[in-house]
Amino acid sequence: MTDVTVAEGAIARRRLGTLVDGGPAWLGDRRTAAWDAFTALPLPSSSRDEDWRRTDISKLRLGDFAPAGPAAEALVAAARARHARALPQAALVLCGPDGAVSVDHADSLLAQGVIVCPLQEAALRHPEVVRRGLSAVGVDGAYFAALWNALWAGGAFVYVPRGVEAMTPVWVSHLAPEAGAVSFPSTVVVVDERASLTLVEDRVGPGDAAPRLSVGVTALRVADQSRVDDIPVQQLPPGTWHFATRRAALAAGSRYRLLGATLGAGLEKAYWDVLLEGAGAEADVLAVCHARGRQHLDLQSLQLHRARDTRSNLLYKVAARDLARSVYSGLIDVERDAVHADGYVLNRNLLLSRGAVASGVPRLEIKANDVRCGHGNSVGHVDDEERFYLMARGVPAEEAERLIVTGFFADVIDRVSQESLREWLTALLAVEIAGAPAAEPEAATEDAAEPGGRGS
């Protein structure tokens, strides 16, 4: 049983009561069921739970985290600046850690009949669509998804009606909570038949290394023949415990493309699930991850092939240095009816320092027989020949290494079609690669819940 007895903490039954009372009945039932499931589950354990075998969160004390207050003005300005630089034409949904939501630049989308609004508002005004969006994320399964289902607030909701190609992208900024607090970043997207959308989700916070907690869910439902480009960027402060579930349910003939960049947080456990539910659905998941300092970044992916002629491809490229640790586990699960499924996973790791660690397991479970599935997995270091070649042309060793690491990420970043967004991502990566010193965790008090401790 989870210890959530601290009455004044954010994660408490009293908080649940407030949320249940303030929302529609169906959502209240959902929250209550999720809370019951959550409190019945023990904290995931690296000795007991296969999913958590390489990610130890035994030092996490959920009860210590306070409810988040409104975002600091500086952070709001920083988030707006990121949007303005990377994709100014996109509608902007700013989600504060306290649940406050503002929507800007959405006029052209609203004129198309696209709904862009706070999720809580949508739950009241468009309950059926929100329920559709949420239906892919069960309330009683995983520990942190259950917690999110019980206590989320604020959040972004996007609905693209049948046949509509959203003219501009939607940019959702999720702002980190203040030191010692918890937030529940939430995005629910429903794209109806033959429609299309580009979504950017930017998780951002201040640069200090105080402990924070972020428990998020992004749920996407992609209907027949529709298309979604999904671009999550994670650059949370280095003291953040980040638990995130991203789940896309794909109907027949739909096409989903995820282009992700994971750069921040102290300890992250992210689930990226692609459910290929309709015949001919296709998914490409392409992501880069740069880990440094004492970051512990764990990505677990699922490519679930449920229908015939489905295709999925995942490429995950990780560079880790200092004492950072990358964990990747992936599963391609081909169900019996998914004939002609084609699934592939490639995980490539570049270890840049002594002390950096890459772990993982790319799994295959194949129950249909007429399939083509595979995975590749590699770990290496910067190639001496490449470094030598660059140095022979006059490039200093460190610069050569930076060039090589940048090149390592290029085949993912190059697939971002919007030029300004691509340039912004390249710049974010360049800062990470150049290694501006990560803020050291604040002088830890005795029982500060600081993530990123090295599990065994």
Partner: protein, 466 residues
């Protein structure tokens, strides 16, 4: 056009059994008394009894593993843990009781010994009933005996290594083996001696509800070479049998040990085996591991590359027919600089068979300049077959080149058509492709075993039409 899903009557030609001629057996079930009875019957030194009892304690306290195959069908209380078939071990086949000798004749062991083996050990239930090594090798100081004899006649060296590679608390089934072990092989190859032709051990379960727990310890001194081959079969009974072996290998600097297994247990045997080798500086260890039989196999031959420049090879092939689950794989732990390892796994699932590859590659921080490569390919033959791949890796040193690839596919339609266009029937075409798929494994076997393996595969592939 898919491969025809003909109902197969798997023709297991080793399913016969002999009359019970055993001279001693413990009561069914396991207890400190049973363990003490085994030790006493063997006249062991006190330290071994203590070792056994401590291991029993580990066994009883450890939970059943839940992460692999389904082991819920094992009833530990309904197993005979020790059955002694004969009073005396034979040095000549003439010394072996006739019924048992005929069994090994049918398995082709004496003939193989005459033709191409340097030494043979034949275990029947709990004890080795026949043992022989060529005189010239014995003269060079090569020891090849059953493990009990190893303990009796070479106690000092036996005790130095026994249980050091796989401690009794390593896992539940290693603990069980450590408590009730009997038979198996003890191999000692002195410094610089190269045993160019293979030593073979043959393991046969005869009794119903039998647990076979042989224990093998191989010590290859500096610069030596040995190739050890084991084969196994059992009668087909309606009750399940349990085979839980432990194999420990120590390859001293520059030594080269090759360990080949052709596992062909009947499909009522739970085969839960722990195999691990230590490779010191410049040593090479190879596991050539073929799994065709058993109801459930869980076996992950491991190599701990402890010395600089050590090299490991694990080459495995698994075939799972209807109702079988082959959960097999490998582990390579790189603990020293300049170590290399290579893993190749091929598996085929047929009918409702299931194969799982489960592997682990670990590179420790001090192991610089490591190269490891893992390649797993699985072939599915039927609609209902299943294949899983779980390749774990933990790389804690940047100075490494690690690559892993895996594929799962079915027999290619174009390949079948190509062979058919040359007049080969579809079923034979499938068999050819299957043989070709296992070729990387088969070509590492001595000729006689390769022929035998291909024949076994052909039997497994054949339909009701002969």
């Amino acid at each position: 056009m898919t491969v025809q899903a003909r109902e197969l009557t798997k023709d297991y030609r080793y399913g016969f059994h002999d009359e019970d001629v055993s001279v001693f057996r413990t009561e069914k079930g396991i207890s400190p008394e049973v363990v003490a009875a085994i030790s006493q019957h063997k006249g062991e030194p006190e330290w071994m009894l203590r070792f056994r009892l401590k291991a029993l304690d580990h066994f009883l306290r450890r939970p059943m593993p839940t992460w692999g195959a389904d082991l819920s069908g094992i009833d530990f209380a309904n197993i005979y843990y020790y059955i002694k078939p004969v009073e005396e071990q034979g040095r000549s086949w003439d010394d072996v009781p006739e019924s048992i000798r005929l069994t090994f004749d049918r398995l082709g062991i004496p003939e193989a010994e005459r033709k191409f083996l340097a030494g043979v050990s034949a275990q029947y239930d709990s004890e080795v009933v026949y043992h022989n090594i060529r005189a010239d090798l014995a003269k060079l100081g090569v020891v090849f005996s059953d493990c009990d004899t190893g303990l009796r006649e070479h106690e000092e060296i036996f005790r130095r290594y026994f249980g050091t590679v796989i401690p009794p608390n390593d896992n539940k089934f290693a603990a069980l083996n450590s408590a009730v072990w009997s038979g198996g092989s003890f191999v000692y190859v002195p410094r610089g001696v190269r045993v160019e032709i293979p030593l073979q051990a043959y393991f046969r379960i005869n009794s119903d509800n039998m647990g076979q727990f042989e224990r093998t310890l191989i010590i290859a001194e500096e610069g030596s070479y040995v190739h050890y081959i084991e084969g196994c079969t059992a009668p087909t009974y309606s009750n399940d049998s349990l085979h839980a072996a432990v194999v420990e290998i120590i390859a001293q600097p520059g030594a080269h040990v090759r360990y080949t297994t052709i596992q062909n247990w009947s499909d009522n045997v739970y085969n839960l085996v722990t195999k691990r080798a230590i490779a010191k500086e410049g040593a090479t260890v190879e596991w050539i591991d073929g799994n065709l039989g058993s109801k459930i196999t869980m076996k992950y031959p491991s190599i701990y590359l402890m010395g600089e420049g050590a090299h490991g090879e694990i080459l495995s092939a698994a075939f799972a027919g209807d109702g079988q689950h082959q959960d097999a794989g490998s582990k390579c732990i790189h603990a020293a600089p300049n170590t290399t390892s290579n893993v190749v796994s091929r598996s085929i699932s047929k009918g409702r068979g299931r194969t799982s590859y489960r592997g682990h590659i670990k590179v420790l921080p001090r192991a610089t300049n490591v190269q490891c490569h893992v390649r797993c390919d699985a072939l599915l033959l039927d609609e209902e077959s299943r294949s899983d791949t779980y390749p774990y890796m933990d790389i804690e040193n940047p100075d490494v080149t690690f690559g892993h690839e895996a594929t799962v596919s079915k027999v290619g339609e174009d390949q079948i058509f190509y062979l058919q266009s040359r007049g080969i029937e579809e079923q034979d075409a499938t068999a050819l492709i299957v043989n070709g798929f296992f070729e990387p494994f088969v070509k590492e076997l001595p000729m006689e075993y390769a022929v035998e393996l291909n024949r076994l595969l052909a039997l497994s592939m054949e339909g009701s039409v002969g």
